[in-house]
Amino acid sequence: MRTIVVGIGNPVLMDDCFGIKVAEQLNGIMETRVLSTTGFDVIDALLGYERAYIIDGVNTGGVKPGTIMELAPEDLMADLEFSGTHNLHLGAALHLGYRLFKGEMPREIKIFAVEVQDAVNFGMQCTPAVEAAITVVADRIKDLSGVSV
């Protein structure tokens, strides 16, 4: 099954680089892509693949930093308000992708959202709890996609 790993984040805002670091860890083992927005670029990255794993930080405030949440696209589609001028939020981008390119979008998408502690201050390393989740998520993706760990 043709699979893509998409890591989303900002490389210089501490825990916001979580998705990028997971993608980097899987680079060379699987097809990976790094994005800094959740807009049209997400659709571009997914078209033509049968399966996708999307990794991003999240700030729910309700769980401990480093907590890993595995979500399906429908979990994000309840709110289709737009979050940016030209930057749809992930649920809206996926909804749009399926509406416009149904046959070309992955049949299977899993989203790994990891609770961040600090995605505001500058730094190229994650906080310890979030850092620890990088390998956990990378291994989980390898396991799910049948890549030997």
């Binding site: 490389p11 927005t37 049209f40 571009d44 405030g61 940016g84 001028t85 030209h86 416009l100 390119f101």
Partner: protein, 486 residues
């Protein structure tokens, strides 16, 4: 006095809110566009080698990545006292124009058109891109996104990475364009030009042929009379990568021109107690408050400002579209801010044609892509026309080119005064006797959308969902309700 807040501002980068203050009779007394983020990048850049700055500032915003990148590398040229080779300059221009196409496309279809296609008072449930697709058709949506993808592909080829580019160097560009790449870009440029033509047609069909919308576009609700600043060439044609920054007053008379560090002679910034974002004004006029009119010292930048400041565009299809605009709008500066979207559509095709022109030039494949660096002179200013307007990157460095001070003035900062006037005017026109419904509130929000606000870079923090708090005050100034999304 009763206080109403529109928050979060849908479809905007970063975090901002509008507070509208009503008097005892329920009419608008005042309105403020507020931001609540702090600056960070200017401090973060201190201690960094100037050649590293472009790659770093491209992370300021995932949407504005190409413009910060280009302005900062021009500043780095200046720090090292070097002019990029002609080939490198062409590659940079190609890069910036491809960025214009993909950015303007996203802005128009995700931001501007939904208000018109679904109707300005439609529910937010349909007044968005997905609602737009349902109205204009899936096939149109597919075509727009696929053609926009062609612009992103060009950025990817030139910049070395799809999102945050890595190829720019002081004095040039690290990656030459091969003959095969030039042919591919040339083929892709056809998509871009078709996207531009299609977009002008959509604007024509949806807005220009709708009498009601045109009354809105040309009426007094969405009108801000101020000064304008934009970049032009020696024939006063609109330019994006390089040129002279020209300032005109509300009557169209030239106030002055500047380049590089000369911006300091024209632009002053006033700190306001209710926002972290400074409000620029024209130094030669002096601070006249947050007021528009012919005496105002506020100025605006961006597509409408470029349209007003310039005498046309340097490509045939864009010039044709410009002449059609002028015929409809007259020669004097246009102060109707919904015209921003029209000018944006014209610029989209202008940038697309420039991509095609540059790709047709075989010399762009030359391997002469980098000039030798001079001695670091300790200071550099890079100015470009970002998609949203004049973008200034100003750095001071030590003799090794290590950044000691950074000052970034972005389009949303230039536009802050006019945005406040626009929001206040729309609110005063639309909210009467305390009657506020969702449709009216959207029409107030339409007052800032033309400026294509990027609060993320305006406040120098990253875009994304930010904590939002809504405070509602009664007519006695008491906070009677607070709503939070965190």
């Amino acid at each position: 006095m009763k206080r109403i807040e529109i928050n979060p501002m849908t479809r905007l980068e970063g975090h901002g809110k509008i507070s509208i203050f009503l008097d005892d009779t329920g009419n608008v007394e005042n309105a403020f566009f507020q931001t609540v983020e702090l600056r960070g990048y200017e401090r973060f850049l201190r201690g960094m080698p100037i050649e590293e700055v472009p790659r770093t500032v491209s992370t300021i915003c995932g949407v504005c990545r190409g413009v910060h990148y280009t302005a900062s590398v021009k500043a780095a040229d200046s720090v090292y006292n070097v002019e990029p080779t002609p080939t490198a300059r062409k590659i940079r221009e190609l890069f910036l124009n491809a960025h214009y196409v993909e950015d303007h496309c996203a802005i128009l279809y995700a931001l501007g058109f939904p208000d018109f296609v679904a109707g300005p008072t439609a529910s937010p449930a349909v007044r968005n891109l997905i609602g737009l697709i349902e109205i204009v058709g899936v096939e149109t949506g597919r075509t727009v996104l696929k053609k926009r993808r062609s612009a992103v592909r060009i950025l990817e080829m030139l910049g070395g990475r799809p999102i945050h580019p890595v190829a720019a160097l002081p004095g040039g560009w690290s990656k030459r364009v091969t003959g095969e790449e030039r042919q591919e870009i040339l083929a892709l440029s056809q998509d871009l030009v078709e996207l531009g033509q299609m977009t002008l047609q959509v604007f024509d069909d949806v807005v220009l042929k709708n009498k009601g919308y045109m009354e809105l576009v040309l009426g007094d609700i969405y009108k801000v009379v101020c000064n304008y600043a934009g970049t032009v060439d020696d024939r006063n044609r609109v330019q994006y990568y390089d040129g002279t920054q020209r300032i005109i007053n509300a009557k169209g008379e030239e106030i002055g021109r500047f380049q590089g560090k000369g911006y300091l002679d024209f632009i002053a910034e006033r700190v306001l107690p209710w926002s972290y974002l400074k409000m620029p004004y024209l130094k030669k006029i002096g601070w006249q408050g947050v007021e528009d009119g012919e005496a105002s010292s506020l100025y605006c930048v961006g597509p409408l400002a470029r349209f007003n400041v310039g005498s046309g565009y340097d490509t045939p299809l864009a010039q044709e579209a410009y002449e059609k605009m002028r015929e409809a709008l007259g020669k004097a500066p246009v102060h109707n801010i919904l015209v921003y979207h029209w000018a944006r559509a014209v610029e989209l095709i202008n940038a697309a044609e420039k991509v095609r022109q540059l790709a047709m030039d075989e010399s762009i494949t030359s391997d002469d892509i980098r000039a030798p660096l001079g001695e670091a002179v300790g200071e550099g200013v890079g100015i470009i026309e970002a998609v949203r307007g004049i973008l200034i990157h100003h750095y001071k460095t030590d003799r090794r080119g290590i950044v000691e001070e950074a000052n970034l003035i972005v389009a949303t900062t230039h536009n802050k005064g006019p945005i406040n006037v626009a929001v206040r005017r729309a609110a005063q026109s639309l909210i009467k006797d305390g009657k506020v419904d969702e449709g009216i509130l959207n029409m107030v929000e339409m007052a800032y959308r033309p400026y294509d606000i990027c609060l993320a870079c305006a406040t120098h923090t990253l875009p994304g969902r930010q904590p939002v708090q809504i405070d509602i005050y009664d007519s006695q100034g008491r906070n009677c309700q607070t709503l939070k999304n965190f």
